[in-house]
């Protein structure tokens, strides 16, 4: 019996016009409870957080800190202070690369990233490598679209100071074994940074079980608003991280020439934070929890399975990723012989199907796959088999227009 979440679609006003939205990997749609929570908060309880002596500011601060506690609970963090609000996954990863990396990396040190990373967990490390004199190495992808773990073990060594790995590839949908990767890295004393932008929205995550030192993700990919993301860090890792931005909110004391930092997490949250967004994220987590994250993953994976089965019958179509459902989420990348991904996306759009086309901010992976671009369908709680029907129909239309297989 497939996991039927079709009743949820009505919670997403934007889907009421019938669009087959298959681009949740880029950003997800927002359900009514999230929209209403932000609206209600902005109408009744909004003011700047912290420092305010008046009631509205106290109410606003309470809501902001309640969101932090909710996130901590959602990801199994033992201490809410380990949850830092950022602008998004990219900012979170830059905070680690610059705030931790500049302090702890130098000539002779190695940074180990992977061939399947999103640019957000690669480019900051390139920048920090250049500044510190550390070298950047990578774990290759094996031919079955998984990380080559044998190569990973070989590349580990005492000079590896940090391992940067995705929790779920935004192109392939594969979920590397972060626990195993973390345990191996820790044996060599390396820190582990996980780009969990695709993982946390689609899978139950407990940061204790994950075993990494830093975990980054975004609200907007998990039914929440844009403008807010999370950096979770193990307390000992955060303690050896310098603030990436200076300003208000993050200091303990300031003289004209020096400053001391506020306590964790506030030292990492310079300036006015995304307050209304934190309230929206809180509501999004409540919404996801009411479904159950195991159900979410099972649902996405079932849709991926249906899509993989049916895509195999479309002439000229190739899956860029594994054709099985082992350790993967609801992301399916594809190419079609003789039809470029952008043309696929335009033709699908004409059929009311929204997919992403291009390099998905993973150009090294595109080179490894030997393609310039892919079209990517990604599934979430509001998708149903009807969306896959429309996808298959649109792909067949593309094949006909371009004379594929004729």
């Amino acid at each position: 019996m497939p996991t039927d979440l079709s009743h949820l679609k009505a919670d997403f006003p934007i889907l009421s016009n019938g669009v087959h939205f298959l681009d949740s990997g880029a950003s997800s749609q927002k359900p009514i409870p999230v929209l209403e929570a932000m609206d209600r908060f902005a109408r009744t309880s909004y003011a700047n957080v912290h420092r305010g002596a008046y009631q509205l500011s106290v109410a606003s601060t309470d809501a902001y800190e309640a969101a932090r506690e909710r996130v901590a609970q959602f990801i199994g963090a033992t201490d809410p202070r380990e949850v830092i609000f950022t602008r998004g996954t990219t900012t979170s990863l830059n905070m680690v690369a610059f705030g931790w990396g500049l302090e702890h990396l130098g000539p002779g040190d190695r940074i180990l990233a992977t061939e399947i990373e999103h640019h957000a967990n690669l480019v900051p490390w390139q920048m920090v490598a250049k500044r510190t004199g550390a070298t950047l190495d990578h774990v290759p992808m094996s031919d079955d679209f998984r990380l080559d773990l044998a190569a990973y073990e070989q590349k580990l060594g005492p000079d590896v100071k940090v391992v940067a790995v995705t929790g779920m590839s935004n192109v392939l949908g594969t979920m590397p074994p972060v626990r195993q990767i973390s345990d191996l890295a820790h044996r060599h004393g390396a820190r582990v940074v996980v780009d969990a932008a695709q993982l946390v929205p689609h899978s139950a995550v407990n940061v204790q079980e994950l075993g990494a030192d830093f975990v980054a993700f975004s609200s907007h990919k998990m039914l929440g608003p844009t403008g807010i993301g999370i950096l979770w860090g193990a307390m000992d890792a955060l303690e050896e991280t310098e603030p990436f931005e200076g300003g208000g909110e993050m200091i303990s004391d300031v003289t004209l020439h020096d400053a001391t930092w506020a306590e964790i997490p506030h030292r990492f949250e310079a300036g006015t934070p995304p307050i209304i967004e934190a309230v929206g994220l809180h509501a999004a987590i409540d919404y996801l929890d009411s479904i159950g994250m195991d159900q979410v993953l099972q649902h996405d994976r079932e849709l991926a399975g249906i899509a993989l089965d049916r895509l195999g019958d479309v002439p000229g179509l190739h899956i860029q990723g594994p054709d099985d459902l082992i350790d993967r989420g609801g992301v399916v990348s594809m190419t079609m012989d003789g039809v470029h991904a952008h043309d696929l996306a335009t033709i699908l759009d004409e059929q009311g199907v929204a997919v992403r086309s291009g390099h998905h901010c993973a150009k090294p992976l595109m080179r490894r796959l030997g393609v310039g671009a892919t079209a990517r369908a990604s599934f979430y709680v509001y998708n149903t088999e009807e969306d896959i029907d429309a996808l298959i129909g649109g792909l067949r239309r593309a094949g006909e227009l371009f004379g594929v297989g004729s």
Binding site: V339, A341, I347, G358, K363, G372, L401, F402, G403
Partner: protein, 151 residues
Amino acid sequence: MSLEDLYREVILDHYRNPRNQGRLESPDAVAEGVNPLCGDEITIELNFDGDRVTEVAIEGQGCSISQSSSSMMTEAIKGKSRAEIETLTGQFRDMMSLDGEVEIGLDPERPGAVLGDLEALQGVRKYPVRIKCASLGWNVLQDALDGGTRT
């Protein structure tokens, strides 16, 4: 506007069999361009006899619109002077313009009479996100022309 209007047979023909593909032995001007949003790439090489383009070669990868537009462009500019190419580029840009009021001077009675195969790209205008695809090769051509002679 239908998909058949966007993906006309002549476009698909240029996409499948791009003209003037490859490299020149010793080009007078070279330029390359990438659309950073989508990753489409075009490299153009030109040879001149005085003011006139005598040889043109392109290499690239990308969607049917970017690649066919570039292919058609190479056919259209070969043998033309810089001034003639400037006029042609202006006509092409007008054809891509979102402003429906722009008089692009095409003769609906005689398709292809003014801009040749390039007229088949008219349909792109109805797909605003794809205009940048059609324009990529032309932007790179402009760079090659501005870049002057490479020695």
